[in-house]
């Protein structure tokens, strides 16, 4: 594994954040399976090293834009379980007072400008945030998360062109999990994804998205260069989603084999890999890691219970927030 952050606390925090994402998703999936969650949701499990590797290279002042598969980005950027589960259940104490739900969680306090239910819908927003930073002389960086499927959206090419022309501090992070919905990436993406960014003169990287240290190391460098006026950058992160496209996508052998899923889970799991690295390096013992896992599990269980009991927004809120004051 490559070296990302350099002190023990940082490593443990990265591990913790990845486990928090996995645990959040397991609980969210359970809420769906027990018919307690309204609607559908898209699980991030399997892709944790991408969100954590990147977000651990950012400060609260740096912004991200997220996707329909957004719980991982949200947790990685610092969100709390309680407000997140409340949002998933449509409760008043949710990050968006129940108005947004899973596909629209935003967490202003940590610089998360929001998930988006329109594939590619946040590419303009992320680039605009970077434009604002440049115009106002601020040194924050914006990371735009999107999937391999989203690279088919024309908007990406319009905004990359402008970002490159104007040297904007934005990092396009393409989470290539091999599928867009029920279709393999190679069937919907011609040529090379990174070459598209390179065509605009944007420096582009393709890396193993299951290696949290590699992701973190690269992102730290690019963030520093963005702050130095050298943006934009493009990263394609090779990763995998463990669940179906959404929680209801259960019988999926017609588009993806069980063997392939097993291979990724058994041989490339980002959490398992990082955990054994931590132990090998003597950064944490198995017992310490188990204790951390248990604590996170407890946190999640409590947050779910809290959210289930929490109150729904008052009916009078329905026409609040249509316009800003």
């Amino acid at each position: 594994m490559a070296k990302g952050k350099t002190n023990t606390e940082d490593y443990l925090r990265m591990y913790r954040q990845m486990v928090r994402i996995r645990t959040f998703e397991d609980n969210a999936n359970q809420l769906y399976l027990s018919a307690k969650m309204p609607g559908l949701t898209h699980m991030y499990s399997g892709e944790e090293a991408v969100a954590v590797g990147i977000c651990e290279a950012l400060t609260d002042n740096d912004r991200i834009t997220s996707t329909h598969r957004g719980h991982g980005h949200c947790v990685a950027k610092g969100a709390e379980f309680k407000e997140m589960f409340c949002e998933l259940l449509g409760k008043e104490e949710g990050y968006c007072r129940g108005k947004g739900g899973s596909m629209h969680i935003a967490d202003q306090s940590h610089g998360n400008l929001g998930a988006n239910a329109i594939v590619g819908g946040s590419m303009g927003i992320a680039t605009g945030s970077a434009l604002r930073a440049k115009l106002q002389g601020a040194d924050d960086v914006t990371v735009c998360f999107f999937g391999d499927g989203a690279t088919a959206q024309g908007l990406l090419y319009e905004v990359m062109n402008m970002a490159a022309l104007w040297n904007l501090p934005v990092i396009y992070a393409c989470e290539n999990n091999g599928y867009s919905e029920y279709t393999k990436t190679e069937e919907i993406a011609a040529g090379s994804i990174t070459a598209r960014a390179e065509a605009f003169g944007i420096e582009a990287f393709r890396i193993d998205g299951q290696d949290v240290l590699a992701v973190n190391e690269l992102t730290q460098k690019l963030v520093a260069r963005c702050r130095n006026g050298e943006g934009p950058f493009f990263i394609e992160l090779e990763t995998y989603r463990y669940h179906g496209h959404h929680v209801g996508d259960i019988n999926r052998e017609y588009y993806r084999s069980k063997e392939e899923e097993k291979d990724w889970k058994q041989n490339r799991d980002p959490i398992v890999r990082f955990r054994s690295w931590l132990v090998d390096q003597g950064i944490a013992s198995e017992e310490e890691i188990e204790a951390m896992n248990a604590e996170i599990e407890k946190d999640a269980t409590e947050a779910v219970a809290y959210a289930e009991a929490a109150k729904y927004p008052d009916a009078a809120e329905v026409d609040m927030h249509v316009y800003a004051d």
Binding site: G39, G90, G100, G101, S102, M103, A152, Y255, D319
Partner: protein, 331 residues
Amino acid sequence: MREITLSQAVNEAIAEEMRRDPTVFLLGEDVAEAGTPFKVLSGLVEEFGTERIIDTPIAEPGFVGLAVGAAMTGARPIVDLMFGDFIYLVMDQLCNQAAKQHYMSGGKLSVPMVLRTNLGATRRSAAQHSQSLQALVAHIPGLKVAMPSSAYEAKGLMKTAIRDNNPVVIFEDKLMYQDKAPVPEEEYLIPFGEANVKREGRDITLIATSSMVQVAEKAAETLAAEGISAEVIDPRTIVPLDEATLLASVRKTSRAIVIDEGHQSYGVTAEIASRLNEKAFYHLDAPVLRMGAMDVPVPFSPALEDITVPTPEGVVANARKLCAGEMINAA
């Protein structure tokens, strides 16, 4: 008569027209093996192959543009737009390109394409997957707009749409895909611009589209028990609109409520209500009422979402007031 689901009805209509006319093909996201997320098109790729049931990248303006070009040069494409909310992405191709070619070319070019998509809230899908945007396209001259209210309409209107020489947008209610209705085995088409009087009545006319037809019918049941006789009319296409049938009904009942799931302001209900006011004013005993979705983005929380759409109870309450001579919304 056999009963089939709305989903099967759409599937049958497309299959029949593809057998009948080799220039018909379909394109969209996950339409082939996956048969769309709602499974509406399952089985079509097995019969027609990937040359005619084409999976596209997630590039809506691109593939709608492709459909426009193919339609202008001799094919009859059907575009599958996964959610009605994505109409915003394709507005230029649909409204600047498809809608205007025939007129701009002095009648020389035409765009025989169908864009099938959906509408409907209360599925807990939040603000970007729940909208009912028919008014947006109905506003644009050159586009026809069909709004099936059951499996029967879905099949008959789809077949007519595919044979029409103009761009047609069809909105299916995504909550109705599994609803069954009697659909004949024999071939039939439903002409555009012919409203369907679903239920006859004397006291008030309920004009309802798509998802709202069921709401109006339920309301009519309740009203009947109270001695109010409601007529329920489904226009089936909002462009063209069967004004004659709507006007004849309102002249008879002298009261009307128009119900549609799009936002109420500047919406389908407003258009129909103003036509009734203009053309049946002297027959009216009460102002024509509009009932649309609340003028708010669709909220995710079930506690909020359900109050944004018209309900049978809401229609009943308004109908009662109109029939009692209470001026609703009077200043």
